[in-house]
Symmetry: C2
Subunit: 130 residues, 2 copies
DNA sequence: AATAAAAATAATAATCGTTTTTATTTTTAA
DNA sequence: TTAAAAATAAAAACGATTATTATTTTTATT
């Protein structure tokens, strides 16, 4: 094993485990800096990548060009609000059948797929109708 | 109408219409520059955005952090090879049912969704098995 | 406990895709 | 033909992320 303990990595993982809002690297940085004022943004990025590689967290893409991170590594869908940018989990069972479907008529090898949803979150929808 | 004709925009659209490989802005720039040696990268970006907004082309995200562009604006799925990065169309009918499904148990408004596939393309799969 | 190699860090610069700015040139309607 | 509106080229700026480097931590071994 070539992975050594680090207080910073633990703090990052600990912070993330408390969040359901799918923070970006910068949001993690801002928060963890309260406990480690000298932590570097590079350290945050490196550890988030490390944690994602070992499968302890997952990196998610919702099409805004910024990586978000999720302590819940089970397969599930995400939604991003086009107005406020918030990212939420969707209560929709992940089918997984899509991979097999796509394998038809394809000469390569499908390893996986990504699906995300977008629209207006509850709050922004409410705000618009008032 | 606030959209004026431009030779550059026509050249960009014309070039894109000949391609099935989903070029990036930079690929468009490199090619169109053969006809317009002084065209600026900013002009390419602005016109691709303009064409995507008017629905003449579509902007696609395959999770590599780079926007690709497609002259085919019909809804269909894309695949990207993790090895060589090529982007291909998938012959898989777009269901569209997913939006409705997601609307269940959600207090906001789902406007749409994006799905893309990844893995090894035919060539890279072949190369690996030899 | 002392040591030394391996890994992690902070600080910073660099990179990459993309957007913005600005002064100039094209387009187009009058 | 003229003048306003939009488009352009060139360049700087931007934001997210990665790479570099010298220093500090961790950890296995004396």
């Amino acid at each position: 094993m070539a992975l050594k303990y680090s207080r910073q990595r633990e703090a990052i993982k600990e912070f993330l485990s408390t969040r359901k809002d799918h923070p970006t690297a910068d949001m993690v940085y801002t928060q963890v800096r309260k406990e480690f004022p000298n932590i570097s943004l590079g350290t945050v990025y490196r550890n988030l990548t490390l944690l994602a590689e070992t499968g302890e967290i997952s990196r998610i893409n919702v099409g805004d060009g910024i990586d978000h991170f999720d302590p819940d590594t089970s397969e599930h869908y995400h939604f991003q609000c086009k107005k406020c940018g918030c990212v939420q989990d969707l209560k929709l069972e992940h089918t997984g059948k899509t991979n097999e479907l796509a394998a038809m008529q394809f000469d390569g090898e499908i390893m996986g797929s990504v699906t995300y949803f977008y629209g207006l979150c509850g709050k922004c929808k409410e705000a618009r109708n008032s």
